[in-house]
């Protein structure tokens, strides 16, 4: 198996962009990544494009705009893990020796989608969905139990949102650049109790892209290649084997496999982008990703360990909560942020001497399973 490097990254600004079509967003990000890599469109041998609501063969429309056509091109859907799934597939196509250079794009336009202004609906015929389940409710059930059984307060959870909104203010690509107080977060409109509006990620339009190459080829283009040290993707197990809804077994297993593959441990991680679709998720994932023992996660946020300037900054981009969550683009956008961190290009969000970074996404609801898909990537320089 060959080592795979990321040599170019690009992103659109995230936000509500109803005047822009999905393929335009995708093309902007893809072109930015191609330019950043210092390659020409002709160098790209294959592509994966992740999208949920943009219609058929969107990857062809995206890359057709920037002079990439007539190559192997696969469109991918895997809910919130779609972008990370595309990266995983591209990683393998190079690691296996099939190709030497490829591009990964994640793109979503929620405001031009058929579900604009609504919650992401459950699949037709999904039993729990028909009985009134939705994405927010699923995590509200987790949060209710988490707060009551483990004695975690709403203030602790709101603090995650305070932190990530602060980081978003420092990120020019972020949808929200506004500070919030704990009180503002708690007193915002209830969505599914105890989750209030400002504990939820927004609906977002945006795209992100990365160019990958074999490590050998990467040397020709950059002296700062970022290496993909681990790439792991898993689907959710049956819920009847899921003991405790406040602990994501699939995230835990996926992270363990990723650490093993990278030959690294949680103590080596300098910066992490994780799936904070709801503020409570970030605390939960600290434990599952191995950053602390169960029961210590509140301390990480209270003591500032995961803030910028702390020992392990988490969601420096603003996370899904502030930077936004264009579903299929999120997994790729996390990689863009971490590559900037590893190259020392993260501006006001820069973490000093970042060497190892971890990205985690999870998503997709299916009755009877823990969740749809989870992915963990570890990057190093």
């Amino acid at each position: 198996m060959r080592e795979v490097a990321i040599i170019g990254v690009g992103s659109t600004v995230f936000g509500k962009l109803p005047e822009r079509l999905p393929y335009e967003l995708g093309a902007e990000a893809a072109w930015a990544a191609v330019r950043d890599a210092g390659i020409t469109p002709k160098d790209v041998q294959f592509a994966y494009c992740s999208n949920l609501y943009g219609g058929m063969v969107i990857g062809q429309a995206v890359l057709g705009e920037i002079g990439i056509a007539g190559i192997e091109l696969t469109n991918i859907e895997n809910a919130c893990a779609g972008g990370a799934t595309a990266l995983r597939k591209a990683w393998w196509d190079i690691a296996s020796g099939l190709y030497n250079m490829g591009i990964v794009i994640g793109v979503e336009s929620m405001t031009t989608s058929p579900i604009a202004g609504k919650l992401i609906p459950p699949a037709k015929g999904d039993i729990t969905g028909e009985l009134g389940m939705n994405m927010v409710a699923r995590f509200a059930l987790l949060q209710r139990r988490y707060m009551d059984i483990f004695n975690v307060s709403l203030e602790h959870i709101a603090k995650v949102s305070v932190k990530n909104h602060h980081n978003g203010c420092l990120n020019p690509y972020s949808q929200y650049k506004k500070e919030f107080t704990i009180e503002e977060i708690i007193s915002s409109r209830p969505i599914c109790e105890p989750i209030t509006l400002l504990q939820c990620c927004p609906a977002t339009d945006g795209a992100a892209a990365v160019v990958l190459a074999s490590r050998d080829l990467a040397k020709r283009y950059t002296n700062k290649p970022v290496i993909i040290a681990a790439s792991v993707l898993k689907s959710g197990d049956y819920a009847f084997r899921w003991e405790d809804i406040t602990f994501s077994d699939m995230t835990y297993q996926c992270a363990n496999d990723a650490y093993e593959m990278a030959g690294l441990g949680p103590e080596d991680v300098d910066v992490c982008e994780l799936h904070d679709a709801f503020a409570v998720n970030e605390l939960q994932h600290y434990v599952e990703l191995g950053f602390c023992e169960r029961g210590e996660e509140v301390r990480l946020i209270e003591d500032g360990v995961t803030e910028l300037g702390g020992k392990l900054p988490v969601n420096t981009s603003g996370g899904l909560l502030a930077k936004g969550h264009p579903v299929s683009a999120t997994g790729v956008a996390q990689i863009v942020e971490l590559v900037w961190q590893l190259r020392g290009q993260a501006g006001k969000r820069q973490v000093d001497h970042a060497k190892v970074c971890l990205a985690h996404v999870i998503g997709g609801e299916v009755a009877g399973l823990e969740s749809g898909a989870v992915a963990v990537h570890i990057l190093k320089r």
Partner: protein, 133 residues
């Protein structure tokens, strides 16, 4: 009077005038499943027996939803009920305005209208806080 139709086939059934929650048990590994399957999703055994699930359980978690869904207007309550067989049933929760919900409280199965669909009354299972008599 409206006709009652089950919300989905195979989830509940009428046994001598009384509606019960239907499940099945794998004779090989003992796994209980709701809804039933032909094949055990735990051990892939093919010998499944029909069982009637407990009508009592404990509230594992709950939420009051303030967004509309396809069939329900806000606010409505949903939750997971852990039944003695060791599985969790996802359900609409009724009676929450009269009896404030709390994790661990005793809940009981009720069969009632979920929503109207034209001339039909879509019927299914819900859970309510058990009221000690």
């Amino acid at each position: 009077m409206k006709t009652r139709v089950p919300f989905k086939e195979g989830l509940i059934e009428e046994v001598s005038g009384k509606w019960v929650l239907k499940g099945c048990r794998c004779k090989q590994c003992g796994q209980i499943m709701h809804p039933c399957r032909e094949v055990c999703l735990n051990c892939l055994g093919r010998d499944m027996e029909k069982v009637h699930l407990s009508e009592q359980g404990k509230l594992y978690s709950f939420t009051i939803v303030h967004m509309p869904s396809e069939h329900f207007n806000p606010p409505y309550a949903i939750g997971w009920i852990e039944i003695p067989e060791g599985i969790r049933i996802f359900s609409q929760i009724r009676g929450w305005q009269e009896h404030p919900l709390e994790i661990g409280m005793d809940m009981e199965l009720t069969i009632e209208k979920l929503w109207d669909e034209g001339e039909q009354e879509v019927t299914g299972y819900t859970f309510r806080p058990s009221v000690r008599r």
